[in-house]
Subunit: 450 residues, 2 copies
Amino acid sequence: MKGDLTLLSAVQAAEGMMAGRLTSEALVSAYLARIDATENTVRAWAWLDKDHALAQAREADRIRRAGGATGALHGVPVGLKDIVDTVDMPTQRGTPVFADRRAHTDARLVERLREAGAVIMGKTKTAEFAYLHPADTTNPHDSTRTPGGSSSGSAAAVAARHVPLAVGAQTGGSVIRPASFCGTYGFKPTRGVISRSGVFRTSASLDQVGVFGATLDDIALLTNVLGCYDQSDPDSFARPRPDMLHGARSDAPVEPDIAWFDLPFHDRLDKDAAEGLEQVIAALGPRIERFPAAPQLAGLTDVHKVIYDYEITKNMEPIEADFADQLSAEVQAALVRGRAISEAQYTEALDVKSSANAFFASHFNDFDAIMAPSATGQALPLSAGNTGDAIFCTIWTLAGLPCLTMPLLVGENGLPIGVQFIGAVEEDDRLLRTAAWVQNTLSQAGEEGD
Amino acid sequence: MKGDLTLLSAVQAAEGMMAGRLTSEALVSAYLARIDATENTVRAWAWLDKDHALAQAREADRIRRAGGATGALHGVPVGLKDIVDTVDMPTQRGTPVFADRRAHTDARLVERLREAGAVIMGKTKTAEFAYLHPADTTNPHDSTRTPGGSSSGSAAAVAARHVPLAVGAQTGGSVIRPASFCGTYGFKPTRGVISRSGVFRTSASLDQVGVFGATLDDIALLTNVLGCYDQSDPDSFARPRPDMLHGARSDAPVEPDIAWFDLPFHDRLDKDAAEGLEQVIAALGPRIERFPAAPQLAGLTDVHKVIYDYEITKNMEPIEADFADQLSAEVQAALVRGRAISEAQYTEALDVKSSANAFFASHFNDFDAIMAPSATGQALPLSAGNTGDAIFCTIWTLAGLPCLTMPLLVGENGLPIGVQFIGAVEEDDRLLRTAAWVQNTLSQAGEEGD
């Protein structure tokens, strides 16, 4: 294969590898060259050892040349948010507290990647403890802006073409927002599709694993590889997972129906994001039905906050006991809030969370997807000191729904703005099929408009 | 679908299920009816709860009808050798010592089955501790004969059409021999393809998981589902697994080359088995090359025995400490032999085992498979008091090679006799492809001879 190999999609790279047109060593070398050229500015990587990456690539090539078994991601490099445990690399969780930490076992999702033949490229920078305090990663589209967080390095690494694929995690909006800010596809499948064993826990009720890629098919392929039943994760379910790639590649049997809720916090949207979303609504025409905000929906952001603050406090208190002086102001503030939440308030919040699941389940009888903003708009300037607002993601995360962002809009400064689509629980394939339809429909509308 | 559903292959059943022509409830009910009719004689099951099996079947049907995700074994019942841990069923390991034992977690391979949508039908009888002392299971072809062991119930359950698929395990010949005696396909893939986490350990160096089915495609499908990388099993490898079903369904690019070794213990073969094997050799003609026994090969059976006796003793001693009076004479004898083995003898045996791996690796440059007997011949009478001789399996198990038995011969009493094919490590797909070629070639030769 000729040209810049970092422009290949992961699907194309994997196909090229299987067909013998491409070696993993050439592919990984091309990505490493991009990293060399831009990492000084992007700062996506918490840990990266070129020799280790190349050794894995050569081993993938050796296996393939010897006629050995190849996996779905054979020789394809993948970045891992630095809260995902790996035995062969440190896992520092974005904090000096864990600067020397090296896990004794791989996260379950890392087992899946190795079994699929992937090259684990390295660990991508995360906000401290996957919470709020930013890493020093910059947005590949504008180095004066944030890539979003907390999966900052994973989003930036894919956007900067340091890797074609990366793994992140989302408790509020930590996959969807950085994907939106960085102009990549981002996908958090249904709660329980991907195991969290070996992934740093901030909130057992809310933490979910997600992925970044440059195309819809790429995120579907990676999710297929990662998904598995793991009884050691209480959210993991003992049933088949949807075939994501089949979903992304399927034609909708009839034109899908999409819902839009006018939520009270929509006034936080930037003007260009609001206008762009209106254009998408207009282009999708009668397929979109618009609803006033159901009061249940608006209240769910508070429920999310109660659960998150309460659970992160329980998880951080043992760390605080030894390392209080190494915790950011953001974590300290969460601990203060968390301690102020009574067990009764927490239990009530969990009850509301359960009822939200039922609310959404009935809703998806009539609609294939909900459309929503992915973030408030373009990536914020680094000077804002934070990775952006998760408000447009939290209620879907709370309900465990599959959430996808696609880079469909461009803001006034030329920066990407994602549009979010949310599907029914365990119908990730239907969501991806609907997203593919949206993408095609908008692309045709764009061509007609030219 | 009409007719006797227990005559469907697992592949046919899974396809029928996906296409909506068949419900899991109907399929499982048909198997339960067969069990009702014949279990009194066969005695394949250590634990079986019809309601529990039907509940799983109905759940698989509900998911499918609701448009949910389906797995590769959706709604297809599978039996598990009673040394494989399940949270929802006892795991008694063929001994009163563990009569009340219920595992707290599923074996890793059970996770894989649940994720594939399979119905876990129940637990099949095993020789005591998967060793030598027989269960009371009988051979479905002749109830006065042994089904073989130690995976007695798994082989018998498939042969009696109580389930289309079953899981077993082999330390010497505990999959290949019962499959041969019962006239099913039996397959023990390359060491490390299937995780042993949650499977009772007799010998960490030798224990391997295998499968039973009624067709080559069926055992390939089940092995694909079970195989995964599991870092908690030291033999499990962090690489892609061969695609078994693709192998079984592939045409050989050129006619394969098959080796046959005249081993010194071939004089243990029954006359009809020896004659039948000669007929197969004749039918395969120039594709078979015949070798005198390499002395290294003949010596490996002793190496296997040293390792097995030494390791089973280490594993059984804690049990002996509390339950000496509940151990069979066979286990007691193993403990006596094991204690007589010095650490030096054991270490030397492990060294020879390693060198055997290298011997075979070079061998498969010239041959696609080795052909060998699966067992000494037809199933022995129950009155023999044992499950048969593992001599024709141990050296391949020792080397971790993939081993397959196909029911190609019929003995003088009309009982099935299997023929074994052994492949290169991690080239299970090539072995299955070669086996499919053998099967087609013999079937054509048979038709021409008619």
